[in-house]
Amino acid sequence: MIAAGSAGVDGPASALVALPVLLPLFAAGLKLGVGVRLQRTQRVISTVVLSTVLAVALVLLIDADRYGPQVMYAGGWKPPVGIVLVADRLSALMLVISSSVTLCVLLYSIGQGMADREEGTPMSVFHPAYLVLVAGVSDTFLAGDLFNLYVGFEIMLTASYVLLTLGGTVTRIRAGATYAIVSLLSSVLFLAAVAVVYSATGTVTMAELARRFDELPGGVAVLAQISLLTVFCTKAAVFPLAAWLPDSYPTAPAPVTAVFAGLLTKVGIYAILRTQTLLFPGDRLSDALMVLALLSLLVGILGAVAQTDLKRLLSFTLVSHIGFMVFGIALATRAGFSGSIFYVVHHITVQTTLFLVVGLVERRGVTTDLRRLGGIAKLSPALGLVFFVPAMNLAGVPPLSGFLGKFGLLRAGVAHGGAMTYVLIAAGSATSLLTLYALAKAWNLGFWRAAPPQLYVVGVVLDTVETDEESPREPAAVSEAGASSGGSGAVDVDVLAGRSEAASFGGRAITTGQPPAAMLGPTAALVAFGLAFTVFAGPLSSLTVRVADELTARTPYVTAVTGR
């Protein structure tokens, strides 16, 4: 056994570090070459590659936990010049979670493609873009220098623009424009921050920077820290920079929204964690982060309470729960980091699951507008169950992992002390209650009550745009665009009778049978995965404590990369 952090350990797995980035990229190219004819080949390639990435990530996690950070020098160039890929405990843990989630979502989307018998265009773009997205996320987690982090972000974002505007419909173009502009702006700021850092220190390798930032005059370091934090908070959708998220995510196809909501914001959180622990240790900007966390928690959840559309409601809860993770980081204590990481792991899984379920709901009820949905739990108890469990988990009902994560964070806050911390603890508890309220409202309206008559009228089609008094008359642009949330027109299918005759709604075929097993299966698997965090909360939390140890110590990472 080699002690962790001993100089220049080339761990047994250091050759594997590049695989999570290279394999999906290679597969994406291969699939573009294969083309749209061979659907089965496409599916096999995707599934095999993502399963391999998951296996590699698991090996990396075990090795990083046992032998310290695994380092790969690209092309044999050592820092400060070369590009390094580093898999320490945090990176490897994030990789394991992200590859599990992306694999499940891929299976779900394959199931959806099979159920809808989709041939041709959207899927042929979807699969390669999805794999490129996975490669970008992996690169971000593994990047050992700031510029490679930027490149990872860009790979991820470019793929996400394509995925968000799949099919180029009116609503998606509208949403994609906002998303693309905000992301581009934050990328440009990131580049400027890299320029500042490089001119001040002469390197962008994070392990070198950790040493050099300590020797800099305070002002320069603060400038670098603020600009990097601004960038990462935009990616993570921390409140004042989160306005783009609820407007853009809900319009995408269900699997895409699920991955975005689950993973992409957490990549921002990972970057904040990495820079706050490695480059800028101490609590220099803790108070500012506390205020941001407070605002995210409250504004996000109040936004969620105001929504009537299920997808937007969940998007707002996402913004709000990002506040919990930022709170843990702002504490800048070992317990705070540990709680934050536990919460990230739990939240990725639960949020992804919920969005997948909403995708299934949309297939059933055509709309996700809670005022027009109803009776889903009666129609399909399985669908009700896979919504109810993660919803309660997100709200933090004991004994589920959501409760454990929140409890860990609040306990870390109490241990830290201070007036601001207690304000945040109160806000966090209030947020939990309001989350429960919002999700219970969704459950009661969408799943538990009897189906509202205006949707499932047998016979005549009621044009709800003209006869629906609850909702204001929408602007003309909406009804023309046939907005998904507005719902123009009722469905002339007797859903309650369970007849599975196909009908068309807005040019889209809908089915009224049970959700297809190929889509329900991966969703249920993710639900089980989320529940496993509850069952194995002990081992998981001891792992996150070890991750936090490594982060606060800093030396293992720096020594592993620089060899000094």
Partner: protein
Amino acid sequence: MNETIALVVTGGALIAAGTVLLLSRPLSRIVLGTVVIGNGVNLLLLASSGAASRAPLLYKVFGPQRISDPLPQAFVLTAIVITLALTAFLSAMAYRAWQLSGSDDVQDDVEDLRVAHRAEHGEEHREEARRPRERERRARRRELLAVGEEDEQPGQEGVSRRLRRAGSHYREARRRARAEARPHHGRAARSDEDVADDLWETILGADR
């Protein structure tokens, strides 16, 4: 040193100009804005390499002390490639937006507008819904439907089925007509714009 200052000043000016473009509504201008800002930031990156000196290709002749730093140049090259790809994508998106709606303006989010509207006028709508006349009308309609279902006999089409078919036909036709009319509306609206006499207004104004 002077060259570096020139780089920084030019970069700052480009970023300022790009910001003005980025704040406008049409996507095509926003694309130009991102390109300009990207170039400005690339100049800042170049400036981070310190004072200008010999080309890094000549390191064997002049030694590592006299050549300029190659690393920022590699950064800039990468950034240029990324900006190029994103420009292509955004341009395609702007074109698609114009195709769909006849303008490439960035639209406001509908749901946001709706929530704000509900906060302002929610009470009025609830009033409206409570009106007895409305309730009666809906009850009558439901009765009619029930009757239509009942007198459906085997072998002949019931009222409800006919109504149902007619309704879906009507909606399909309406959807198609609207989809066809949309670009025309947009273009018509565009052609109605009068170009202002003021050149500045023509270039920077008209952000509708």
